[in-house]
Symmetry: C2
Subunit: 196 residues, 2 copies
Amino acid sequence: MTDVQILSREPVTPRRRDAQATRAAILEAAKAQFARLGYDRAGLREIAAEAGADVSLIKRYFGGKEGLFTEALKASFQPDRLKEWDRAAFPADIATMMADAPADEARTHSFQFLLRAATSPTTAPLLNLAVQERFLLPIREWLGGADVHARARVLAAVFIGFLVERLIRGEALEGREREVFMAHVTATFDALLGGG
Amino acid sequence: MTDVQILSREPVTPRRRDAQATRAAILEAAKAQFARLGYDRAGLREIAAEAGADVSLIKRYFGGKEGLFTEALKASFQPDRLKEWDRAAFPADIATMMADAPADEARTHSFQFLLRAATSPTTAPLLNLAVQERFLLPIREWLGGADVHARARVLAAVFIGFLVERLIRGEALEGREREVFMAHVTATFDALLGGG
DNA sequence: ACATTATGTCAATGAGCGTTGACTTACCGC
DNA sequence: GCGGTAAGTCAACGCTCATTGACATAATGT
């Protein structure tokens, strides 16, 4: 009790001081953790560790867990490379994609992240706005034609549905089931793109 | 402070001793809470309180939180009153349902429950099997016709998609957007039921 | 009646986690 | 060089919550 060893600042080579980089690293780690574990199970200590930073910096840079989450959510919407997609090939491409096994990539993580956010009463309202501006809007622009609002909704809904189905399925379809499945998917999107 | 009143076992009318009923009540409360809050945010104390039981009984009857969850998950699959649905009216009925605001009913709760489970790596495999046997199978039987496997998958996927969309939207569609939306939904399900 | 068992109650423990503030120290302008 | 500020580190508080074991008592069979 008498003498608490004053531990001599070891050669811990403290982190290089770059606020921007640190912030970015934390955000990246947060995106991954939130996607993988969800809001509740993701721990700030874990996130900080993965980012090679200290927990307290999360408070400094994001205010707290919620702030970090909302930022990560915003950052999870890709700048939509929807435009790269050829309208003619779109239905068939999507069909193939949905019949295959879910890719274990950042894409899937982002999607799981969003899906998770949708199912949480806390984060749902926030997600609603984000979806409006960053998801439905681009789809509308890409779609064009009459009644884009309604059609974009349907397109988004169906798209999400197939993503969820693929997620639950977990593996690629094969044989005749695959063919028929793809045919239906293609037909569905064809109908939506054809306009109505 | 001096004399802590030794509260004389008040007429607390201790719970009537009926293990089965208690177990059932806990399970019911669990289903509701898990659906509303998700696995992590749902508290055993809350669940027990809602069931009018004590926390420790959860351990006795279900082993713990995880056990309770898996049981609740199993019990969340309705015996599918799919059969009650008129095939002819099905597409239009679904369209109306999806265009409206999400009902705050047991139905919606069950769905959120399942969706939540789907997004959790822990519970996903379990859900996969459950979906196979309790969701896809009934749909197949109801559907009938050729290639039921593939068609049931598509049907389930689209159905889930619209549910999610409605969930995120949070409110009823109105005016022309509603009409066009419903028209598309109807057409989509018509195509699936028509066979192919 | 009595003993046994199943059912229900209560209080405490211990871990995990977000949050917080005090303390170092590298970086940068002067 | 020098001082000030921002970046990073550390330890601890307080809260929530699942878990657990000890205790009380109704129900049941003999």
